[in-house]
């Protein structure tokens, strides 16, 4: 792990990690394999390495997030980098000029990686075009959240020993979910079969064109699946705008044991967090250590983000500047 292998560069030719779309199965596998090694490192007493020594990582969050930001912060620190958190309150940004201005300002401080979350789809890509350092998308609007999909994939692969051929149901607010899109792209690329289960008001138009099967009934949608991925339903969407009420949503789309019966006996349950207990998921199911992989997802998150930082940093080694291409 200490001496960067030049072959990794050739196998991962991207300067930034902006989304899952555009990554090949081999590139995804490479990131997962590397993350796997960091899982071991993170379980040792001494969790620190020196891969990012002297490097600066800036977490630039235009949208509130505790989990993702903390996960990236730990990942950067465990690799020996200097990590700075910068939260730009959403109220102070009215125009994207602020986005570009902020990007240019930070760029002038010579960071090596910018980890960016923004409420607008495409904002992270726009920002990546204006800076010289590597950019990792930590979630942009309803577009992509690539590290979440990678950590989900790693969690699945560790439990099920494979991804290819699995049947995965993604349930809930697909319409507004970047997690859903990144997962759909990743799971399809890796050869899994993907279903989405939601009321039509929470499904974007033409979603089936993304290569998923569409269900509006949980029992049908969960039938024989290997993996159940639940999505968070934002509070402001629960009271009549997209679904009529919490109790109706929970009754028909909340994951509880009766609905879960349709899935395979060993089906695993995932949730990107934070959970709304009693809205999209029943507490009993969420806390079922035999089936719920929710805490493991959090653990994998740090490892996956270490792998992403690691791979992108290798591009930035002066000797490798020419090897990096693509996004």
């Amino acid at each position: 792990m200490t001496a960067p292998s030049p072959t990794i560069l050739l196998r991962f030719p991207h300067r930034h990690l902006l989304g899952i779309r555009g990554l090949s199965a081999a590139e995804i596998t490479l990131l997962l394999d590397l993350a796997e090694s960091y899982v071991d490192q993170n379980r040792q007493a001494d969790k620190k390495s020196a891969i990012l020594r002297g490097r600066t990582v800036i977490n630039l969050f235009f949208e509130n997030s505790t989990r993702t930001r903390t996960s990236f912060e730990l990942a950067g620190k465990r690799l020996g980098g200097d990590v700075i958190n910068m939260s730009v309150s959403t109220s102070s940004i009215k125009k994207g000029e602020t986005l570009i201005d902020t990007a240019m300002t930070l760029n002038a401080m010579h960071p090596d990686v910018l980890v960016v979350r923004h409420a607008d789809s495409g904002a992270v890509q726009l920002l990546s075009e204006k800076v010289n350092c590597a950019v990792i998308n930590a979630g942009d609007g309803s577009h992509e959240h690539p590290t979440q999909a990678l950590l989900d994939a790693l969690t699945i692969r560790r439990r099920k020993k494979r991804i290819e051929g699995l049947l995965v149901a993604i349930c809930g607010d697909i319409l507004h979910s970047r997690v859903a899109r990144s997962n759909i792209f990743l799971l399809n690329t890796m050869g899994a079969r993907v279903r989405v289960v939601a009321p039509p008001t929470l499904l974007p138009s033409a979603i089936e064109k993304l290569g998923v099967e569409v269900f509006h009934d949980m029992r049908n949608g969960l039938k024989d699946v290997d993996v159940v991925m639940m999505l968070r339903l934002q509070t402001e969407r629960m009271h009549g705008s997209f679904v009529p009420s919490i109790r109706e949503y929970f009754r028909f789309f909340g994951l509880d044991y009766p609905k879960l019966e349709a899935a395979k006996d060993d089906a695993m349950i995932m949730h990107p967090g934070p959970m709304n207990r009693g809205v999209e998921i029943d507490s009993e199911v969420a806390d079922d250590i035999g089936r719920s992989a929710i805490h493991e997802q959090v653990e994998m998150g740090v490892a996956v983000r270490m792998a992403c930082l690691d791979v992108l940093m290798r591009h930035d080694m002066p000797s490798n500047r020419d090897a990096g291409a693509g996004r």
Binding site: E97, D120, S205, A206, I207
Partner: protein, 438 residues
């Protein structure tokens, strides 16, 4: 600003021209004579015996001489946003594009909802003195969609039609009263047809691409519903109604049926709606963000069919200048619209070069048809008519270049596009306002 002393244009003979008049379907080699501000004579045998002394000669070398283009929908940004465009810069762009008359939307700052606004535009146009600049006035005060403007007084002051610009008149009762009241003055009501509750927050056409990009979509139904609602109100009131920049096949169909019923309705479209589809958005390309949004290839084909059968009365540039700060934004935040004055003619001519439409099919909606809708005595080759002319080579190829735009803003998705149709000279009231450099 002082107005330079008038220099009478005198008499000018345009010889060796291919005379084109879409209204009479004249397409003949010949010559045309302007005397002062008007067309004195034209025809195949004019100047057969040579041009008499004392007349200035312009040799057209076989290029097309047609009525100047009448662009019924542009945004000038003056007054209020002169950093994006002014009447002077847009007039230069218009002249270079072969447009001799343009009509601006009332969405300036302040809004043109008062006689003084109409008079301001007229005064600035006189001072700039390039192409003819007219304006539409607002239907409702402040474009707020509630109280009617002084339609009678505004029309008297020179407003050509009434529209809330980029906003729909959303309230059905307000639209009904506008159509109804406007009958007093035979005024035309122009609608931006989009049901706001369906379009609100939308950034592009709803469908697979929007879903992939995670962008909120605007369903095609938003346009169709508003057109169909308004057509019912036209039936109810007998008003004159015009649907602006149609983008969907269904809306064109709705207007087609209404015309067959004999309703007094018309509509226009703009070149992006028959040239580009939603795939132009690519990876969040804000230059492809328009309102209404770019739709599908099938819609482009339906728009072209609507031009061919005359359902679509006019092709407007829909010129919408925006500075870089308005476009260099996350897609959903970016401003909608593109500039169009300098690309109107070549993008329209492309339909002829592709063999999809005849030359008159595209020249009619660029000249006399919009002129007639707005009550302008322009858009025709006619003795005694104003000498508003465009001389162009329909076959000359050129590459659209951002750096060459006269418009102050450069927001065009057509930069670097190969195109055909080159404006050689633009004449307004007998005066040359644009002469190509080579």
């Amino acid at each position: 600003m002082s107005i330079p002393p008038e220099k009478q244009p005198g008499r000018v003979a345009y010889i060796n021209a291919r005379l084109l008049d879409p209204a009479t379907r004249l397409d003949q080699p010949g010559a045309l004579l302007t005397d002062g501000e008007t067309i004195a004579d034209f025809g195949p045998s004019l100047f057969e015996a040579g041009v008499p002394d004392g007349i200035q000669i312009v040799d057209c070398h076989g290029a097309c001489l047609a009525p100047g283009l009448v662009d019924m929908r542009v945004q000038l940004r003056e007054p209020g946003e002169e950093h994006k465009e002014t009447i002077e810069t847009s007039s230069r762009a218009a002249a270079a594009g072969g447009v001799t008359a343009m009509v601006c939307l009332p969405n300036t700052e302040p809004v043109i909802d008062d006689v003084s606004g109409v008079e301001f535009i007229a005064r600035r146009a006189r001072e700039v003195k390039l192409v003819k600049v007219y304006c539409h006035a607002a239907v409702t005060q402040g474009l707020a969609g509630e109280q009617l403007c002084e339609i009678g007084l505004l029309k008297e002051a020179g407003a050509l039609a009434f529209t809330d610009g980029l906003q729909s008149v959303a309230d059905a009762q307000v639209m009904r009263r506008a159509l109804s009241y406007a009958r007093t003055f035979d005024a035309l009501i122009i609608q931006h047809p989009e049901e706001p509750s369906l379009a609100s927050g939308g950034a592009m056409n709803e469908g697979e691409i929007a879903t992939r990009l995670g962008l909120p979509g605007i369903p095609r139904a938003a346009e169709v519903i508003m057109v169909e609602r308004d057509l019912r109100l036209v039936e109810l009131t007998g008003g004159r109604y015009h649907a602006a920049h149609l983008s969907t096949a269904e809306a064109v169909d709705a207007v087609r049926r209404a015309k067959a019923k004999g309703l007094r309705v018309s509509c226009d479209t703009a070149p992006p709606y028959f040239t580009l589809d939603e795939t132009a958005v690519g990876d969040y390309r804000t230059f492809a963000k328009l309102s209404p949004p770019l739709r599908t290839r099938a819609d482009c084909a339906a728009i072209i069919a609507g031009i061919a059968d005359g359902t679509i009365d006019a092709i407007a540039s829909d010129h919408a200048p925006h500075d870089q700060d308005s476009k260099r934004q996350p897609f959903a935040q970016a401003a909608s619209g593109i500039i169009g004055l300098e690309t109107l003619l070549p993008l329209s001519l492309a339909l002829c070069h592709q063999g999809r439409l005849g030359l008159f099919d595209i020249l009619a909606p660029l000249t006399y048809k919009p002129a007639d809708l707005l009550g302008l005595g322009a858009g025709r080759l006619r003795k005694g008519a104003p000498a508003d002319l465009v001389l162009f080579d329909p076959n000359r190829s050129w590459t659209i270049q951002e750096s060459k735009f006269r418009s102050k803003s450069k927001n065009s998705p057509f930069a670097e596009r190969e195109t055909k149709g080159w404006v050689l000279r633009t004449v307004v009231d007998g005066r040359p306002v644009f002469i190509a450099e080579d």
